[in-house]
Amino acid sequence: MKLNELKPGKIAIINNVNGKGLLRRRLLEMGLTPKTKVLCRKVAPMGDPIELYVRSYVLTLRKDDAKMIDIEEIQ
């Protein structure tokens, strides 16, 4: 499953961050590393971007970028 498919209110564990270059590193550096828990809190009014809760802070990500992150839903 990809992070952009995570429904609001659901929690998942990151398996892998795909993609390449600086964007991938930025995603990692913002704390989206493998084995990290993420909660999807919300989708923006126009359907994109999404709002995540990760490492005790709130992060927004475009669905296109979230697509690069493999996750496993846990609850």
Binding site: R25, E29, M30, V43, P45, E51, R55, L59, D65
Partner: protein, 668 residues
Amino acid sequence: MTTIALIGNQNSGKTTLFNALTGSNQHVGNFPGVTVEQKKGKIKKHTSFEVVDLPGIYSLSPYTMEEIVAIDYLLDEKPDIILNIVDATNIERNLYLTMQLIELQIPMIIALNMMDEVISSGNCIDIEGLEKQLGTRVIPISAYKEEGIEDLIESIIELSKNPLTKKIDLCHGEIHKAIHSISHLIEDNAKNIDYPVKYCATKVIEDDEKTIKRLNLDENQLHIIHHIIENMEQKEGTDKDVALVEMRYNEIERICSLTVFKEQETTEQIRSEKIDKILTHKYLGIPIFIVIMLLVFFLTFNVLGEPLQNLLEQFVDFVTASIIDLLESYHVASWLISLLQDGVFTGVGSVLSFLPLIVILFFFLSILEDSGYMARVAFVMDKMLRKIGLSGKSFVPMLIGFGCSVPAIMATRTLSSQRDRKMTIILTPFMSCSAKLPIYGMIISAFFSTKAAFAMITIYLIGIFTAIVSALLLKATVFPGDPVPFVMELPAYRIPTLKSVLIHMWEKAKDFIKKAFTIIFLASMLIWFLQSFNFQFEMVADSSQSILAFLGAKISWLFKPLGFDDWRLSTALITGITAKESVVSTLSVLTNTTTAVALNQSLQGLLNPASAFAFLTFTVLYMPCVAAFAASKRELQSLKEAILIAIFQTGMAYIFAFIVYRICLLMI
């Protein structure tokens, strides 16, 4: 002089701390060669300590212009002390930058901000434990409440007397071995350019071209490094990028598990989630945003701006009249009186007339920014702007453009990417500003009085449409590539401090007066001169004999394809560059009309409905007034770019006015 580099994540309270440390002893400049703002200030009562405010960044990767500036400053300017501000309520991600800063081997102090929020929420951080783990002093503070600032200053002074960096190794495993092997290998190269070796080693692993080039590594070294990295990746079972980031986060997690005792989210975070249930609500989010912006607009341009502008105008008029009276009583030469009255005071007046708008607008904008709402605007509006190659953050400056381009262009400073900033500066003037309303009023009442509302809406839509077309054009040519990815934090809502709002307001006002005064002033004087003299340098009684009228006549043929080639119209367009509303006054002077009805009649002689609409289109789109031009020169730090942009805008105006004229001819 001891130099202290203040560095931290965005939203960590860095600006608030900078203000608390330096008070009003601030200088705003730029980092050499780039348009990133640099603030410097001396610490209150300890003026031999200078704080340099580095851009708010999340890591030392060369990802944005701000990060490159910060890295270059730390490596090349070699500050004596790094003051790293860390948001205690969001400590894990904030410490990521700290981990990288430690590699620089520069004496460092950590200001652990928002500790008051941590404690009041029933959570706790073991400060001594954290100091031991990180090998640096950690001072708990609240920049907002100005608590702990004295302690912080004391420990800065202490550290400056005894500048030590403790060597601690914050890594382990295979990546640790790789860093150490590479460090050994490149030690001499790093010493040659006086860079910290461990920092270089991680940059080499990250494949950072700039560092690798500077280190001047030979073939053999590169080959060995390649081998070391490959070996490490194989043993770790992951690639080098993940390995490096994970190494730092693993260490952070270990440190936090020992020192951070967190029962629950902070009160502020819980409150923010509740506020966002409304402000970024699926259906309410956008209407609420529109209402907030309308309110800001209404208050700025109507309730507060207009009376203040009128008051200032009366004041300037009063001063002008008194001085002119005085001069006349001494029988001073009439050209000098005209120079003062129509050149100097008109110039000063037009500069000052922007001031109330700027001050009031930035009062509201800093509240929206400091409270955390701007980040939500970007979140809500992002999808719309992405289609034209921008991000949600550009929405607010563009919206302000409907009021006035000057503060709108100044507001682009909050955009984090240079590319987005430039594009926004180019597009904002296409949003029809309020100074153009008198022109619309004039033309519409003369030609389209039966369809006034429709004509008005069409004009605004033409502006927006041109902006979209220009954005797509620019995206395809001048600014290729993707917009900076939108990986943005939504900070917790906080009540802004009056102090930081006032400082921000004051800075914008000062900035505008200082930078815009010369350009606006010179332009007004030039127009005055051209309008009042003929080629024999004699003052003319009738401005139709002036140099300006001659120039207007000279270029009027240019507008023939657009349907209006009367010299009076082209002359009015030239004066419109000083201030858009002058188009109306110039036209009434040149057509010798004193009443609106008479002006209507003479306009009907000059234009037909099709060319009138082309004229309108041209006035909406062509280069903005000198004040806006000055603002864009200031923000871009380049006269050349500002001129190029003005040419681009005028070019777009010409093309669109031509198209509109042809379409109108077919329809009418």
